[in-house]
């Protein structure tokens, strides 16, 4: 199939058949306003200058492209390069999106900011930009994640935001999103909802992708500079899919670069206990969009299982569903066990402790590097650093910190 999909979504917010705006009527006006504002600002020079200035001076962009020498030697079949989103201020790619969306919120005159978070990285990134502008900020987080990402919970509080622990459903990211949407329905007039991934109703998947695309754009230049070619493959983990979309999008028409998304395989895709809708799901509607979704035989959304809070989500951004069906990107899954092994390996080989989410992308190198010879250049998008996961990993390893 010929892929000419860089100009998606269409005007109704669809990527092929995926995406759309499936929300209660109360939110329709807010989405229209947001879309209008974004379309007006996205090519505006002042807006872009401000966005890139903040990314440079506050976030520390561009993030380096780093040659992982020992890891490359370990596999012996090519050069592995790390796109260092873990070095961003607040420690993950999530800040790119919040820097952009808070500018939209400010432009729209909103006084109150809300967000959902799984791993807590998006919560921290949102609380950070809200603090900078002195805006009231509320973060919804599943009760289970509040426990396993307690370090980030404290960071969010230090930044002056309020954390709302969500007990309903599976008490993870999906339920935090439900609760954030309910807040938004209630306070829609003065509240801006900063969604943290390429999920949700149109125009969010597009906006979050565009703000994260700075990663892929930098990578194009850095690849030319450092190895004088385009990468043979880019590997990124996929929860909602924002770090992957941000690095994939500028490469969509660069056909020699394989785009590989790694989902959370939990206990193994074959066990059904995972968070890998692109590997083991069917199209369905959740949180405002039609996309691949983990559902049971009654059309209910299934509970997910992953050691990584940021990937523990039954849905995925609609553009990934489209990239999967069109064949432009490949989607695989990696188990908890393999991700944990990679977490340790990368820490020891490279002196970089990756986030558990990112560890999934690293774990897939075991399979992928066998397909290459020594001339290959493979980029891993290091979506975040692992400080937040120290407690989780130590507990699994039976160590008390």
């Amino acid at each position: 199939m010929e892929v000419k999909n860089k100009n998606l979504p269409d005007q109704n917010g669809f990527y092929g058949k995926y995406g759309g705006k499936f929300v209660p009527e109360t939110l329709m006006y807010a989405l229209e306003q947001l879309e209008e504002t974004y379309n007006k600002l996205k090519d505006n020079k002042d807006f872009k200058d401000q966005f890139y200035k903040d990314l440079s001076e506050f976030v520390g962009r561009p993030s380096p492209l780093y040659f992982a020498e020992r890891l490359s030697k370990h596999y012996g079949t090519g050069s592995i390069w790390l796109k260092r989103e873990d070095l961003n201020h607040t420690g993950a790619h999530k800040i790119n999106n919040t820097i952009g969306q808070i500018l939209l919120a400010k432009h729209m005159g909103k006084k109150r900011i809300i967000a959902e978070t799984g791993a807590g990285q998006h919560g921290v990134a949102t609380a950070t930009v809200a603090a900078r502008l002195g805006l009231e900020c509320h973060i919804y987080m599943g009760a289970e994640d509040v426990i396993r990402q307690s370090l980030n919970v404290y960071r969010i509080k230090l930044l002056g935001a309020k954390v709302h622990s969500v007990d309903s459903g599976s008490a993870t990211l999906k339920d935090a999103l439900n609760e954030a949407l309910r807040d938004w329905v209630t306070n829609v007039d003065d509240t801006y909802y900063i969604i943290g991934s390429v999920t949700g109703p149109h125009p969010y998947p597009m906006i979050v992708r565009d703000f994260n695309s700075v990663v892929g754009e930098e990578l194009i230049n850095q690849s030319s500079e450092l190895f004088n070619a385009m990468p043979d493959a880019i590997v990124a983990c996929v929860g909602g899919g924002s770090n992957a979309m941000g690095v994939f999008y500028p490469f969509i028409n660069i056909n020699q670069t394989r785009l590989i998304g790694v989902e959370a395989g939990g206990k193994g895709v074959e066990t059904g206990e995972h968070a890998a809708p692109l590997n083991d799901g069917e199209p369905g509607v959740l949180h405002g969009a039609l996309s691949y979704l983990m559902q049971d035989d009654k059309g209910q959304v299934k509970e997910t299982k992953s050691v990584s809070a940021g990937l523990d989500y039954p849905g995925v951004g609609p553009e990934h569903s489209w990239l999967k069906d069109s064949g432009r990107a490949e989607y695989v899954a990696v188990s908890d066990e393999d991700a944990l092994r990679a977490f340790h390996e990368v820490s020891e080989f490279e002196g970089i402790i990756p986030a558990l989410e990112t560890a999934h992308a690293f774990a897939y190198l075991d399979t992928l590097m066998k397909e290459f010879d020594s001339s290959a250049n493979v980029v891993v998008n290091v979506s975040g650093r692992g400080d937040k996961d120290i407690n989780t990993v130590a507990e699994i390893d039976g160590i008390k910190v």
Binding site: K21, F22, V23, P24, E25, T26, L27, M28, Y29, A30, S168, G169, K174, D175, N178, L181, R182, V185, T186, N187, V188, D189, G284, V285, L286, H287, G288, L293, Q295, K298, G299, Q300, V301
Partner: protein, 261 residues
């Protein structure tokens, strides 16, 4: 003409207001749901709105969320709900039934809606789609089922017009910014918006979402063609889910019915 349109026509001719009562199918179990539905009718309810449980009901407040959870624990599916309604129809072939739920379940069981055995379901209300769209836009075709669109306080004039043009059952005016069961009714705004809707609507406009007390019911029925009561009924079902003594709900609804007559 299906039961819903017929009923609403009748009420209009008699200059009466419609009372719509909501429950979640399978809460606390399907036998109870069947009993309560018949009791609704005895208490003067004109239309029954049957909630289809979903794991992620984003428009519901805590009371109705818990009801969805209880029904899902019992594994209640849309398939079971069609069976329940078929059973209900054995004794009652008059009372209109509206299914209210989230798009995913309706798409998943599309064939059941298209088949709709004996036309036992009269109408469908999908909570999570824009007002001007209906199930046919998502490939679910059944001309005997009419669709109910939501209009909310944030819906702007141009869209009110297109939504009003598109509704075939009634227009459901969401009386507040918020989830079901909230309590911040702004009567001034409600009255103005319903007036605006009625300029374009070819079908009756009913009001729902924050109506609890007899006073709310009385007040809102003076502006709308009828009212929808949900969370306060579901709360009573919750409180009696062990004892299964639901008679109080009947008394409550009879009082409401009197108040709006």
């Amino acid at each position: 003409m299906n039961r819903l349109s017929k009923k609403l026509d009748e009420l209009k001719k008699q200059n009466k207001k419609a009372l719509v009562a909501y429950l979640v199918a399978g809460d606390p179990d399907l036998d109870s749901t069947l009993d309560i539905m018949h009791m609704f009718v005895k208490s003067g309810v004109d239309v029954i709105e049957v909630g289809v449980p979903f794991t992620d009901p984003i428009a519901e407040g805590p009371i109705i969320q818990r009801a969805h959870d209880r029904a899902i624990t019992k594994k209640t599916s849309l398939e079971d709900i069609f069976k329940l309604i078929t059973k209900f129809r054995l004794k009652d072939d008059e009372t209109p039934i509206v299914l209210m739920g989230y798009l995913n379940a309706f798409i998943f069981f599309r064939h059941l809606i298209e088949e709709n055995k004996n036309n036992s379901v009269d109408s469908i209300l999908v909570v999570d789609i824009p007002g001007e769209l209906n199930i046919a836009d998502y490939g679910i075709k059944n001309e005997n089922i009419n669709t109910i669109s939501l209009i909310s306080p944030t819906t702007k004039a141009d869209r009110i017009k297109s939504i009003a043009n598109n509704s075939s059952g009634f227009i459901y005016y969401v009386t507040l910014r918020g989830v079901t069961g909230s309590s911040n009714l702004n009567v001034e705004e409600i009255s103005q918006n319903i007036k605006e809707i009625k300029k374009y609507a070819k079908v009756p406009t009913l009001a729902g979402f924050g109506i609890k007390s007899i006073e709310d019911a009385k007040l809102l029925s003076s502006h709308a063609d009828g009212i929808i009561i949900g969370s306060s009924i579901v709360k009573m079902i919750e409180d009696s889910s062990d004892s299964k003594e639901f008679a109080k709900i009947g008394e409550y609804l009879s009082d409401i019915k009197k108040a709006i007559s």
